[in-house]
Subunit: 343 residues, 2 copies
């Protein structure tokens, strides 16, 4: 069946692949948060038995990969593609996780939008007939991110109020051309949007304009109203970025009442000291695989717009005085529960 | 038209997209090499008018992007996808190049295999009906790579004999679902292969097993003999890696007489002090766009297997004692000149 292209950035998949298995692996702090009971595995000390934080991040991806395959009843040798990425320099979290797995592999870099990017590309590869089974995956680790992007933990640096907390976690999703489960029905590919925010401790503000651009484009191109979705979920805008996004839509006369953000869902901000909320590639990856997909499977929700948000900066670009380019990729997810489309 | 899948890793594209425009932008040293006359633009001092090497790398990508669009007669607003990546931490070479271009963007990380990865994914997106026009792109810069991976240039470190020279260059290719030009007919997605090489100054040896794996798989799955191709071109194995690859095939009783390597084509190793040859994402990107695609267009060659090779290491993984995972993605290119398939 042909793909439909209602607009330049959006594709309605002709053969929407089913998400047949998924898993989330999370760190200790995340395991003390509101999603604790839904994670497949919570590490006791964030080391995952490894000698470095970077190796621990790869171990998390391997675990999530393995649990997700088990849930789908699929073996690695049956996979046609694995699409994965992370925040580490040269994406070693993903490469070293998939070393020795004997799977066709495409490495991605979309910063914290990577889970949505891998899900989008994986869904298109299957809908286009390029394979039958794929895994989309992503991860981040608080300790590897802190020492790479900011300062080593040992310095005990104080965090600004706009800062977010990088999630220690990995999420993996199995996509199958034929199978039962929630489906990816539409993909909206994001553009790079940079409104000049230069503060790397305020990435919510840097990413909110990209989220606005992609969500607005998705709604315009599909002709859907925000209310079509039970949830519109951004990746990791945090409290400030979420408020900016709401404000952008408010100026258009649109109240996004069903907007939620993985960065606000993953921690209990009253009890857990995370300032503006969670962030990192792992943030949307673990919320997708512990909350959103189970909710779609169980009929709690019927339609979710999953919007990965990424800040495409590096410490080098910041040191050279650059502002922070943002990007947002959106994938429309449809639940398995019975019932017609809502209008 | 449906995609055909002769094997797990290889897809024969049902609607092979045409490469309708391409361009290469290169640095001063590359502009003194054998491909000098074919580059669209050669920088006088490798700064490309920018204040940092990283910004210079983005400037090269923007230039290649712009020249390639011009050659294809396509505007940026007509693009459905841009797929790009580079070697810099968080791929800022690509993100900052595409900032302000208003194009749907997917960031990739395949180390030096990125040009083949972007070409492969771009070709599949178009063949699958997900868009009509895409740009595949990649870059590297000697100076930004040296200070990131090795030591700042100011240290004047001595290079080992197995070292390769990171190409300062960017290549961009316009793919169109309908159009005239060389076509991408097959894509073979690589697996991560790691045979335990730990020396980051010997990446040819680290990548050769991945190239062997992908080329052998491509030939087995398509049923093609090596002689089907006028050229089998690896990305940047250099002299040592090339010899290892030849040796692997020799042990199988196969003499790859038509094997060439972009790392050996881009410099004059007699005159230019590059040890084992060129490397970097830009290496295969500029050889593809200055030599291979023009040769296919002009009828010099009919069939080329373009095999991007990547070493998925980082300085951190090396410092932590890890070996170097390699990957190789292959895209089969067919020229526009008349004449039936060779057997």
């Amino acid at each position: 069946m042909e793909q439909k292209r209602p607009g330049r950035q959006t594709v309605a998949l002709g053969q929407p692949p089913a998400l047949t298995g998924w898993a989330s692996v999370a760190g200790k702090k995340e395991g003390e948060g509101p999603l604790a009971a839904q994670f497949q595995y919570v590490g006791a000390d964030d080391s995952f038995g490894e000698k470095s934080w970077e190796k621990a991040e790869s171990a998390m991806q391997r675990l999530a990969f393995s649990y997700a395959l088990d849930k789908a009843g699929v073996t690695a040798s049956e996979l046609d593609y694995v699409l994965s990425g992370d925040l580490l320099n040269q994406c070693i979290g993903s490469s070293f996780a998939m070393r020795g797995q004997e799977v066709p592999f495409y490495g991605l870099y979309g910063a914290c939008s990577t889970m949505a990017e891998s899900l989008s590309l994986g869904a298109m590869l299957l809908s286009g007939g390029f394979g039958r089974r794929a895994v989309a995956m992503s991860s981040s680790h608080f300790c590897s991110a802190e020492r790479q992007y900011r300062t080593p933990l040992e310095y005990g640096s104080q965090r600004t109020p706009t800062a977010q907390w990088t999630v220690t976690g990995a999420g993996a999703v199995v996509l199958e051309a034929e199978g039962t489960g929630p489906r990816v029905t539409h993909v909206t590919t994001g553009k790079i949007v940079d409104k000049g925010v230069k503060d790397p401790a305020n990435m919510g503000a840097a990413m909110a304009p990209a989220a606005y651009d992609t969500i607005r484009t998705h709604l315009a191109e599909t002709g859907r109203k925000p209310s079509f979705y039970d949830l519109i979920v951004t990746g990791d805008l945090g409290e400030l970025g979420r408020d900016i996004l709401l404000d952008f839509f408010h100026r258009d006369g649109v109240e996004l009442k069903n907007l939620s953000d993985c960065g606000l869902l993953v921690y209990d901000r009253e009890r857990q000291d995370v300032h503006c909320g969670g962030s990192g590639c792992g943030c949307s990856a673990v919320v997708l695989t512990s909350l959103l997909l189970p909710g779609l499977e169980q009929g709690r929700w019927k339609h979710i717009l999953f919007c990965g948000t990424g800040a495409l900066l590096s410490p080098t670009s910041t040191q050279q005085g650059e502002s922070i380019p943002g990007i947002c990729h959106a994938a429309a997810l449809e639940g398995t529960a019975r019932g017609g489309e809502r209008g």
